[in-house]
C-alpha cells in the first residue's frame, strides 16, 4: 500500500450574503492509501461531502493543495482537470445519476464514450463489467426497469469501467434497503479494491462500517477521528 492522495491544509469557505463567508473546512491534512477502503463519516453539514468533492477535483478549495497520484490537481487548467478526472477518477453518486434513456450497458460505458470509444466497443465493455457485477442479464434494460440495488451496481460499473486510480462514492447505500446496501458494499469492496487504487466512501450508514479499512470522522470541518475502529458514540 502506498500513499495515493495527499491533501495539505485544505480550507474551504463558501460565500453567504454579499460579503460574508462561512468556513466549512478548517485546514485539513490527510493522506489516503491505495488498496484501502476509506470511509468519511460525520453528521450532515460536517464538511465530508465538501472534502470528497475537493479530493475528486470538482470543487476548488479556498486554500491548500490536493495531490492525487503525484499530480497537484488544482495546479491544472480547467480542461486539464476535467481530463484528469476522466482518466483517473470514478464516481458513484447517492442517486446513481444514470442517464434514463441509455441502457445499463451504455450507462456503464459512459466514461469510455466520453473518451472517444465507439458505441459498439463501449457497449461490449459495458456488458463485460456488468457480467463481473452479476447483472449481465440486465444490460439491455433502462434504469427505470432496474431495482435500486441494480441501478447502483450499474453506477459502480460506470465508476470502474475505465479503471480509475481513485474511486469516490457519496452515500452509495443511502437509497437502498439494508440487504441491498450490504450487497452493494460487499461488491464494491470485492471489485473496486485493488492494490493501486484508492477508494473513498462518504457514508453515515453504520450497517456497513465493518467493511471499512479506515474510518475518518469529520466534525465541523475538522478531522476528529482517524483509525480502523469506529469513533466513540457509533
Amino acid at each position: 500500500m502506498s500513499v495515493g492522495i495527499a491533501i495539505e491544509n485544505i480550507v474551504k469557505e463558501f460565500p453567504i450574503g454579499s460579503s460574508d463567508t462561512i468556513r466549512v473546512l478548517h485546514g485539513i491534512d490527510l493522506e489516503i492509501k491505495t488498496g484501502e477502503l476509506t470511509y468519511l463519516i460525520g453528521e450532515s453539514g460536517s464538511g465530508k461531502t465538501t472534502l470528497i468533492s475537493i479530493i475528486a477535483g470538482i470543487l476548488y478549495p479556498t486554500e491548500g493543495r490536493v495531490n492525487v497520484f503525484g499530480t497537484d490537481i488544482y495546479d491544472l487548467t480547467d480542461t486539464e482537470l476535467v481530463n484528469f478526472r476522466l482518466a483517473n477518477i470514478g464516481f458513484i453518486f447517492q442517486q446513481y445519476n444514470l442517464l434514463p434513456t441509455l441502457t445499463a450497458a451504455e450507462n456503464a460505458a459512459v466514461p469510455l464514450f466520453a473518451n472517444g470509444v465507439d458505441r459498439d466497443e463501449g457497449v461490449d465493455r459495458g456488458c463485460e463489467i456488468l457480467d463481473a457485477l452479476n447483472i449481465r442479464d440486465q444490460a439491455e434494460k433502462l434504469p427505470r426497469q432496474l431495482s435500486g440495488g441494480q441501478q447502483q451496481r450499474v453506477a459502480i460499473a460506470r465508476a470502474l469501467i475505465h479503471e480509475p486510480r481513485l474511486v469516490v462514492c457519496d452515500e452509495p447505500t443511502a437509497a437502498l434497503d439494508a440487504g441491498s446496501g450490504r450487497r452493494v458494499m460487499d461488491l464494491l469492496r470485492e471489485v473496486a479494491l485493488v492494490p493501486d487504487r484508492a477508494v473513498i466512501i462518504v457514508t453515515h450508514d453504520n450497517r456497513v462500517f465493518d467493511l471499512a479499512d479506515r474510518i475518518i470522522e469529520i466534525e465541523d470541518g475538522r478531522i476528529t477521528h482517524d483509525g480502523k475502529d469506529l469513533p466513540d458514540g457509533h
Binding site: S53, A56, I58, V82, R85, I89, F91, A114
Partner: protein, 378 residues
C-alpha cells in the same frame, strides 16, 4: 457523445414531440404566410406577365400600374411606332365595366381591349375555346377564375350572351389567367369592341404594347421611347415590379403578413424555448454527473447543439412538408391559383429556425454550463 445526446432527446417522447411541434408549427406558419404574401404581391404584376408578346409597356407619365393609369390619346400609338427599334406596337385598353350575368346579377369586371388585328395583349393560354373566336362580332373571353364566379359549375359558358355596360357581349372562350391582385373578373375583347363597351373620355388608350426588334435591348428601347415621345416606357420586368411595389407602398398587407410571420417566430421560440428548458432542467443532474465524470463543457455544448440541430432538421422538414401539402391541396381553389413557394422562402424559414434554436439552445445551455459538477454530491 452525439448519439447519447440524441438518445437523451428522443427518449422523452412527450418533450421530443413538443419540440418537433414547436419547430414544425413555426416553419409552417412562416413558410405558408410568406408564400401567400409573396404570391399576393406578385399578383400586382400578373397582368403584365400574362402578356408575353410585349417587351415594353408605354403609358402616360402619371400611370403607375395596369390598374392605376391615365389614358393616352390615340395619337400616342403612332408616335411610339415612329421610334426606331420597334418590331410592332399595339394599343391596349383596360377599364372597369358592369356586367349583367344571364341570371340577372351585376358584376364589376375589368375589360381588356387587345389589338384588333393581331390580338397582342391576350394571355398566352386558353382554358376553353380558340383565340381566333375573338374575331367574331361582340366576342369576349372571360378569365377562367372569373368564369367560375359568374357561372354555376357545369353550366354552358361558351356562346352565352351577356350584357356589358348595356351592350351585347358573347362569351367565345375562356382564357387561362393567373388572377390579379384586384381579383375582378377579367373580360378580354378586341380594342375596337372595348371602345364601344367602355364609354369614356377623349383619351381612351391605356397602354401601347411594344415588341423590340431583334437584337434591340428592351431597356434601351424603353429609354429611347421615353426620350422621343415623352411617354413613360417600362420593360416588362420593370412594369411587373411597379405593380408589386404599388401594393407594398399603398396597402397594409406587408405589415399584416409581417406581424403574422413575426408571431409564428415568437410562438416557435416560446414553445421550443419552454420545452427545451424543461428538457434541460429535467436532465440537469445527468449533465452535472457527466461533467463530474469528465465530460468537458465543449462536449456538453456539442451535445446540446446536436439535439438542437436534430430537432431543427426534423421539425423544419415536417413544417415545410406541411406547407407544401397545404399549397398542393389548395391549388384547385381559385384563391390560391398559381401560388408557388419561391426557393428563398424555405431559406428564410431555415434561418428563422436556426436563430430560434440557437437562441433557445443558448438559454438552456447556460443552465447546464453554470451547473457545478459538485452539485451532484449535494
Amino acid at each position: 457523445m452525439s448519439w447519447i445526446a440524441l438518445k437523451m432527446l428522443t427518449g422523452d417522447r412527450v418533450k421530443f414531440i413538443g419540440l418537433l411541434f414547436g419547430v414544425a408549427f413555426s416553419t409552417l406558419l412562416i413558410t405558408q404566410q410568406l408564400t401567400i404574401f409573396v404570391n399576393l404581391l406578385m399578383r400586382g404584376g400578373n397582368s403584365v406577365l400574362e402578356v408575353t408578346t410585349a417587351d415594353v409597356w408605354v403609358m402616360d407619365p402619371a400611370s403607375r400600374t395596369v390598374d392605376v393609369h391615365i389614358p393616352m390619346p390615340a395619337t400616342a400609338l403612332d408616335r411610339v411606332r415612329g421610334v426606331n427599334g420597334i418590331a410592332y406596337a399595339s394599343p391596349m385598353l383596360t377599364a372597369t365595366a358592369v356586367l349583367r350575368t344571364p341570371d340577372g346579377d351585376l358584376e364589376s369586371v375589368t375589360v381588356i381591349g387587345v389589338d384588333d388585328a393581331t390580338l397582342i395583349g391576350l394571355p398566352r393560354d386558353m382554358y376553353e375555346g380558340d383565340r381566333e373566336a375573338l374575331f367574331e362580332p361582340d366576342a369576349v373571353f372571360l378569365d377562367d377564375t372569373g368564369s367560375r364566379r359568374l357561372f354555376e359549375p357545369g353550366s354552358q359558358m361558351i356562346d352565352t350572351r351577356l350584357e356589358l355596360n348595356d351592350r351585347r357581349a358573347v362569351v367565345r372562350g375562356i382564357a387561362d389567367v393567373t388572377p390579379t391582385f384586384t381579383s375582378l373578373v377579367m373580360l378580354y375583347t378586341r380594342y375596337s369592341n372595348a371602345l364601344r363597351y367602355v364609354p369614356g373620355t377623349r383619351n381612351r388608350m391605356s397602354f401601347v404594347l411594344v415588341r423590340a426588334a431583334e437584337g434591340v435591348d428592351p431597356a434601351v428601347l424603353a429609354d429611347r421611347i421615353e426620350a422621343q415621345t415623352g411617354y413613360k416606357a417600362e420593360t416588362r420586368e420593370q412594369f411587373n415590379r411597379a405593380g408589386v411595389d404599388f401594393i407594398i407602398e399603398n396597402t397594409g398587407i406587408p405589415v399584416n403578413f409581417g406581424i403574422t410571420v413575426a408571431l409564428g417566430f415568437i410562438v416557435g421560440v416560446a414553445i421550443v424555448g419552454l420545452t427545451f428548458s424543461l428538457f434541460i432542467r429535467d436532465n440537469i443532474k445527468q449533465f452535472g454527473a457527466l461533467k463530474a465524470i469528465g465530460v468537458t463543457n465543449r462536449k456538453i455544448r456539442g451535445m446540446v447543439f446536436t439535439q438542437a440541430a436534430f430537432v431543427g432538421m426534423i421539425g423544419y422538414g415536417l413544417g415545410l412538408l406541411a406547407a407544401e401539402l397545404f399549397f398542393v391541396t389548395t391549388e384547385p381553389i381559385d384563391t390560391f391559383k398559381g401560388f408557388f413557394m419561391p426557393w428563398q422562402i424555405p431559406v428564410i424559414a431555415l434561418v428563422a429556425v436556426a436563430v430560434m434554436l440557437l437562441l433557445t439552445g443558448y438559454l438552456a445551455l447556460r443552465n447546464v454550463l453554470k451547473t457545478e459538477p459538485a452539485e451532484v454530491f449535494r
